[in-house]
Symmetry: C2
Subunit: 581 residues, 2 copies
């Protein structure tokens, strides 16, 4: 039987607890949000002794369900003050699940402030080691040393120097299949919470673990096949399809064309340099430099979509993996930077320092808005990361705390954030539905929590006018379904396939029923999604959030966005409908 | 008939408007809060184009009522995000009132960002002049130049460099009777709002103004005499009484003795160096240095209490005026500094830069908590102000935004703030009633909004056990009465006398009735106070504040405070009773 592993950093103890009945059918986000809801006082200080960090593999993580290696990390966020779940794909949750661990709860704070630890978990239990020798170093330097020491068959969760400094844009890092520190639960500063608990690394060795129990193997297998088939046949998710060829950065030209590609700190919706930082540019440059077509790879074992790119320099040497759509936008277009080599370098720096790339790009853009740098100054942007943030200078500390704090410190009014979290790569004035998600999500401005872009721009799961302002229901439906998918361990990108291919959706539900022994239907997906959102919402309400927080920044209401010259005009009443369930 | 003067900085226009019926009987805080409530969207960005700054003399300001030269400044605060009223004593509101101006509303923002203006108001109207030559300079350098230019018979409201930088702890400065830039509407960053509107100075010349209309002169005179008599006879407020001899800093030894004197960022409630920075020390040092007993002076014409001290150096040269209790505590005990010369220098720097001394001291203490300086490092503290804040370096920008932002940037959990505003000089764990005021005030942590210290420590207006936790009613009563007093133009210090001497209280009401032609009774004082608080509270609710914001910081609940080793144990339910009216 799977257990909950509870680690207390105040006395360096670990205990394995039976899974309470109420958590039995939960995984991923559903489980992290439930534990945070049950155990964390919503009014506690995010970096104080009463916050907790919960890691939960999805329901299917550790099985051979396709594209199911997501881990949810949950806590009260120091960036937003809300409950937070941020997920990443890696072998790490697969190993944790195969050790029979359904959730890992980290609580307490070390008696010695500033002390950092490595936690090692294997079939025999938990060990704690001082991590002093790794503190202050870049993760690209540290990861090879750890793999040398613990062997290639372990997985590592970690924080970079940003987390050590307790910066509110510090992410939690997981290795990719090549052992690079490149897969992030980036959003919401969960790395800072881990840092406040003195946790530098969590190394998981699953050798000899019991594996994931599957109650109904036949049903699981049936679902797995349906979903696999859907993923293999949809144009977006199939091998050599859109994501496998161009990565998520395939979206650059599409969103730019739609006039919803935020440029120079959300001053414009179209970037003249978009093509130069697009997925196509990455693919073509690689082809020229390597002399062959390079398709993308998986971030975790068992992924069919395989959207992770690697970018190579003129000499065919790897610069970085992976440049996501969000990243090339954040440190590119949003900063007025159209130089892909600079984008790659900035991506590498984020990975090395342990930073959320979205918040990093948003923050540099606000610093540019404040006049610290000119828009387009790639060298300056690199310097901010490599010198200021890395060294934890006062300026680095400001930036490390994200766009909203940077805006506050420098008196900048144009800060495109909701609940303290910078908006990702879709302009809400030009694509209203995603604005409704930004405004109302339990997570602050977050595209993944209700990706209305699918029908608004991509024609996936239907077709909806991006300028239409009645988007409460659309956003709600996406938010609800997403909360469920985030609980399965599947990557959200399966949504492209299952929105268009009903048997794929059935397959996902059957996989879960197979593992858990449940009889869930499509209606249960909605019910479970709503239950998760209700808990998250209630946590936020207790923390002091109201509908006044479910709003976009004021400047978007009075500043028209080129090229469509649109303002944010979704009525407050429409926003307030989203959570009326 | 008095008018409302409305100035729009977007097009540099001014217009005089009739006073609407609903504002006819309001003044000071009642008027600023009503105008902000009526005209400012609670969700607007405090530094954006839709915030406004309102200046209102009290009902009695400009008359010869004793101690009635207070001006209220109101806006949505960039420090707290709440509505804010901060008042100061100066001849400035007396002149404004005598020009027949009941309120001055500043709205809009200059087309040219970073441009600053001097506004000159006299009986003939309003003029605008570029203020470029004064930008970036200390106010001690600038004020003499302005008085040289405009003559001694004008008054000046201004911002220092802190306001130019739009720092959230920038105050609005008014001159004292000697023309020093030393009287501040300090709290809540109203100087930053003025800075965001490009307003550097507001010079008021009342020559030839119509004066303040008094409807019933006889009644006014009767009230004036009663209040004057009360002020002249109460031990705290009489000539050569407590405040006139030792200034507000007379409280240092008293509060320290009670164990409620926050020391080293609220780590302890008693400071070993308290006596060295007390009002008695100021008086004795002056006596030694000047060879005579020096009693304090008035901050504005017509004050009977006269509590403003001046501190002299070994050679008998003035260092600064005035070292308030809050200031000697904030930059002294709270930073572990027991050197009065350093306290005087830090006070001078706050005045010169345009900073709220309370928030400044609280911020330095949090910076010390973060390890930037050692507690007690006076030289370091001076350097932070004179170099970092003055130059607007990144560190200076952090500090200039107050204790909560500084804590956030450096990952400090022990930040003694409520709604983003640092606590003043009374430890809520040791004196519960003031904690109830801090938690529930519409202004963030603010002692002046409900000064329960009077009965809890000073035995004024009754005697109450400071450790008792049933303080909702006490705090409410003080908050209600204060909202009224803050509307009269009287200094809150008249409360010492009128709480103990009923005829003084009657006198205050009669003065108001005399000026306005009303028939207010004691019950009306309560009704009017409640009406003001209800508006402020509703503004905050619309801005997104909830009872979760009416709480003290978490660390005070689990960290016992020496010497009494008490934690914050007032139940949330008690706090929620305060505004149940």
């Amino acid at each position: 039987m799977a257990k909950i592993l509870r680690i207390n950093m105040a006395d360096l103890t670990a205990k394995y607890e039976d899974v309470p009945e109420k958590y039995k059918y939960l995984g991923g986000r559903g489980l992290t949000s439930s534990i945070i809801y049950d155990e964390v006082d919503p009014t506690c200080h995010p970096l104080g002794p009463h916050n907790k960090v919960v890691f939960a593999p999805g329901i299917l993580s550790g099985t051979n369900a396709p594209t199911s290696g997501r881990v949810s990390v949950g806590a009260k966020s120091p960036l937003t003050g809300t409950i937070k779940e941020s997920n990443a794909g890696s072998a790490w949750p697969q190993r944790l699940a195969r050790l029979g661990i359904k959730a890992l709860i980290i609580e307490g704070q070390p008696k010695e402030p500033g002390k950092f630890w490595l936690i090692y978990i294997n079939k025999d239990g938990v060990k704690f080691e001082p991590a002093d020798e790794y503190v202050g170093k870049g993760l690209y330097e540290v990861y090879p040393k750890l793999f040398e020491r613990f062997g290639k068959k372990v997985s590592i969760a970690s924080i970079g120097v940003a987390g050590e400094y307790k910066m509110a844009m510090a992410g939690v890092c997981f290795e990719d299949r090549e052992g690079r520190p490149s897969r992030y639960s980036g959003r919401g500063g969960l790395g800072a919470v881990l840092g406040s608990k003195g946790v530098k690394f969590i190394v998981v060795d699953d050798e000899g673990g019991p594996g994931v129990e599957i109650v109904n193997k036949e049903l699981f297998e049936q679902g797995r096949k349906k979903l696999t088939e859907a993923l293999r046949s949809h144009d977006v998710t199939k091998p050599k399809g859109g994501l496998n060829t161009y990565g998520t950065a395939i979206l650059v030209n599409i969103i730019n064309e739609a006039g919803g590609f935020p440029t120079r700190n959300f001053r414009e919706g179209r970037f003249e340099g978009a093509a130069k930082i697009s997925g196509e540019a990455i693919f073509e440059n690689n082809k020229k430099r390597l002399g062959k077509e390079l398709y993308n790879h998986a971030c975790h074992p068992g992924c069919i979509i395989q959207c992770s790119n690697t970018y190579y320099d003129e000499n065919g040497n790897e610069i970085v993996s992976c440049i996501e759509y969000e990243t090339t936008w954040a440190v590119g277009a949003n900063c007025g930077i159209d130089d892909l080599e600079a984008v790659a370098k900035l991506t590498w720096l984020c990975n090395d320092l342990g930073l959320d790339t979205i918040e990093t790009g948003g923050t540099i853009a606000v610093a540019m808005e404040a006049g610290l740098l000119e828009f387009g100054d790639a060298e300056g942007a690199i310097r901010l990361l490599d010198e200021e943030i890395r060294k934890g200078t006062p300026l680095g500390r400001i930036l490390g705390n994200g766009a909203a704090v940077t805006g506050k410190v420098f008196g900048v009014v144009r800060v495109p954030a909701v609940k303290g979290q910078n908006m990702p790569a879709y302009e809400p004035r030009a694509i209203k539905g995603i604005g409704v998600t930004y405004a109302t999500s339990t997570m602050g401005a977050d595209h993944t929590s209700g990706y209305t872009i699918a029908p608004e721009i991509l024609g996936v799961g239907g077709k909806v006018d991006p300028f239409a302002i009645e988007k409460a229901e659309l956003s709600r439906n996406f938010q609800v379904t997403t909360a469920f998918i985030d609980s399965t361990g599947h990557c959200l990108f399966i949504a492209f396939a299952i929105l268009d291919i009903p048997s794929g959706f059935e397959g996902m539900v059957e996989e879960c029923n197979g593992v858990l022994g449940t009889n869930w239907t499509t209606e249960d997906v909605t019910r479970i999604g709503m239950e998760i959102l209700r808990k998250e919402r209630e946590f936020n309400e207790k923390a002091g959030f109201t509908k006044a927080d479910d709003r976009l920044p004021e400047f978007m209401k009075y500043e028209p966005l080129p090229p469509h010259n649109v303002v944010w005009d979704v009525p407050d009443e429409e926003l307030d409908k989203v959570y009326a369930f």
